[in-house]
């Protein structure tokens, strides 16, 4: 992994005598490579490496017997700092029902995650109501209804002829009259650059002021992650992220890029296709996964 590469590079450089600043800069290229291979955004990597460099060109590293270990320690500290220390929780509204809106690019895992969240909330003693806000994708409503059936939880739908603002309004009213305290709104996948579709989300936000607007992001997303997150966060009030498909071998550098650029926390991770595959986000685990 990265620790060995750093250690080897620095040992090789140290082999010719005492380490100097340029040697450390040379070794840090390994950090740059590791982060780029992990899909961390190019500009984020540049800033990160220069921050590490500032700390690494000090006597503690250059005169250390194990400079590689010193650098790795700095990298890990800086990375964990960036990923955030707090274990992030869901916010609930003082006045029920709490509305949780899921949004994101096409295919990122929103509908499945809606089911997972409903399962978790029910297990936590809540009364969730799933709301079918995707009126475009073929059989999207069927998909959510099947998940609701599997969980024995209600799904609110108005079919695909009503607009999502009316649907979420209807869902809230249904929740109030049927004792459901949380509405989980599934929305259609959309491009951050699709003006009309982003307006639809804005309209929903204006209408119901969700306690949580969660951006659902695929862990294998590459450099484009910052563009997507920045646009969603600028147009909406994103309160957090859910990173999906972490059961694969994607390093998930998108998480670091998005956190750095938006400051918004990852609240959950999707760890599989089943409805139980939702876990809290552990920043230190993510940091070491990204470093490889």
């Amino acid at each position: 992994g990265l620790s060995e590469k750093l250690q080897n590079t620095l040992n090789r450089l140290k082999g010719k005598g005492k380490l100097n600043e340029n040697d450390v800069k040379e070794a840090l290229k390994e950090v740059k490579m590791a982060l780029l291979e992990a899909d961390v955004n190019y500009k984020v990597v540049k800033d990160f490496v220069s921050r590490v460099e500032e700390r690494a060109v000090g006597k503690d590293v250059m005169e250390s017997l194990t400079p590689g270990q010193q650098v790795i320690k700095i990298v890990n500290e800086e990375l964990s700092e960036l990923m955030g220390k707090e274990r992030s929780k869901l916010e609930f509204s003082p006045q029920p029902p709490t509305v949780i809106m899921l949004c994101g690019l096409q295919g990122s895992g929103k509908t499945t995650t809606a089911g997972k969240l409903a399962k978790k909330l029910a297990a936590d003693g809540k009364q969730p109501l799933l709301a079918a806000g995707d009126i475009y994708r073929p059989a999207a409503i069927d998909q959510l209804q099947q998940l609701g059936e599997e969980l024995n939880l209600p799904v609110f739908s108005m079919g695909d002829e009503k607009n999502p603002v009316d649907i979420v309004r209807g869902a809230i009213s249904y929740a109030q009259s049927h004792g459901r305290d949380t509405v989980i709104l599934d929305t259609a996948g959309r491009l951050h650059v699709d003006r009309e579709m982003m307006q639809e989300l804005e309209d929903i936000e204006q209408e119901v002021n969700p306690a949580e607007t969660l951006l659902v992001v695929d862990a294998m997303t590459g450099q484009d992650a910052v563009n997507v997150a920045r646009d969603f966060d600028e147009i909406l009030n994103i309160t957090g992220l859910i990173l999906t498909k972490l059961d694969g071998d994607a390093r998930g550098g998108a998480a670091l890029s998005i956190k750095t650029v938006t400051g918004k926390p990852v609240k959950f991770v999707g760890n599989g296709e089943k409805l139980e595959d939702l876990e809290p986000f552990y920043p230190e685990r993510m940091a070491s996964r990204i470093l490889g």
């Binding site: 490579m33 291979e37 295919g107 998940l147 294998m220 484009d224 694969g248 071998d249 296709e273």
Partner: protein, 277 residues
């Protein structure tokens, strides 16, 4: 290029940044930039424009070499859609069907995703919209059994093209990759003379993981071509350069939207131009 008056380190750094941000990948990028530096020195190139043009041509060459577009043979054609979760397999299948239906070909669908909620219904909606017959079984049934039924039906109805949808699966899930091999085997056994094509669907927003996906799917079921989806977003899909360069897998189709018409043949020149726009 880009307002540079001379070839220097700054230019190569800018090139590196451009390529990495297009998801070409750091290893491929560094190899290519290194090669470009050498060429600039050896051929004594002074003009950045000239260097940049050479560079683009090199990229086009990588993507163009042994390029074969998607083509139907005169016999039964069978396309198997494979790929990880959510990349656009089912939607791409619909787009391919639309293209050939418009050419008056008889197309059929096999609802091979028997696992995911709403998967069979999703194909049925497309089948209805496009006038394509869907062969399916109950949810939870064996995907290979659906494939078997579909091949028999395609032969009986004298179909020109059978497209087999499969469930999304991570390339790292060994048992699911085995299941995919079984689907391919059943199809090969039941339609030995058919022209068969395994189409790997990749999402243009995917980063370096696409290489791992391509490697493992190719290893498991011998991929014939790639369909790169969601190029209507801001992601460049540069990872296909590394995939073509290292694995030799050709990109045949691109997806540029969510409707049935949003399918285009892969055009290396346009693609490379877009990488740097």
């Amino acid at each position: 290029f880009r307002g540079y008056s001379k070839i220097d380190d700054e230019l190569f750094t800018e090139l590196e940044e451009l390529m990495v941000q297009a998801d070409v990948g750091i290893k491929t990028t560094m190899d290519m930039v290194e090669e470009l530096r050498t060429r600039a020195r050896e051929e004594e190139i002074e003009d950045p424009e000239e260097l940049f043009t050479e560079f683009q041509e090199k990229l086009v060459q990588i993507l163009k070499s042994d390029f074969e577009p998607l083509e139907l043979s005169a016999d039964l054609n069978i396309i198997i859609m494979v790929g990880v979760n959510g990349v656009g397999k089912t939607t791409t299948m619909a787009k391919i069907a639309e293209r050939y239906r418009a050419q008056d070909k008889k197309v059929m669908f096999a609802a091979g995703d028997t696992f995911r909620a709403g998967a069979i219904e999703q194909i049925e909606v497309w089948g209805q919209r496009l006038g394509v017959e869907v062969i399916s079984q109950q949810a939870g049934s064996d995907a290979a059994a659906v494939a078997y039924d579909a091949v028999q039906a395609a032969k009986a109805r004298n179909a020109d093209l059978l497209i087999v949808d499969t469930a999304g699966r991570l390339h790292t899930q060994k048992n699911l990759m085995k299941e995919l091999q079984k689907v391919k085997r059943v199809i090969a056994q039941e339609a030995p003379t058919a022209h068969k094509e395994v189409l790997l669907v990749l999402d243009a927003t995917t980063g370096q993981n696409a290489i791992s996906q391509a490697e493992l799917f190719d290893e498991a079921v011998d991929v014939d071509g790639i369909a790169l989806t969601k190029l209507d977003g801001t992601a460049k899909g540069g990872i296909v350069v590394a995939i073509k360069n290292e694995l030799g897998l050709p990109i045949k189709l691109i997806g540029v939207g969510e409707e049935a018409e949003d399918l285009q043949d892969f055009d290396p020149d346009q693609f490379v131009e877009a990488l740097f726009s």
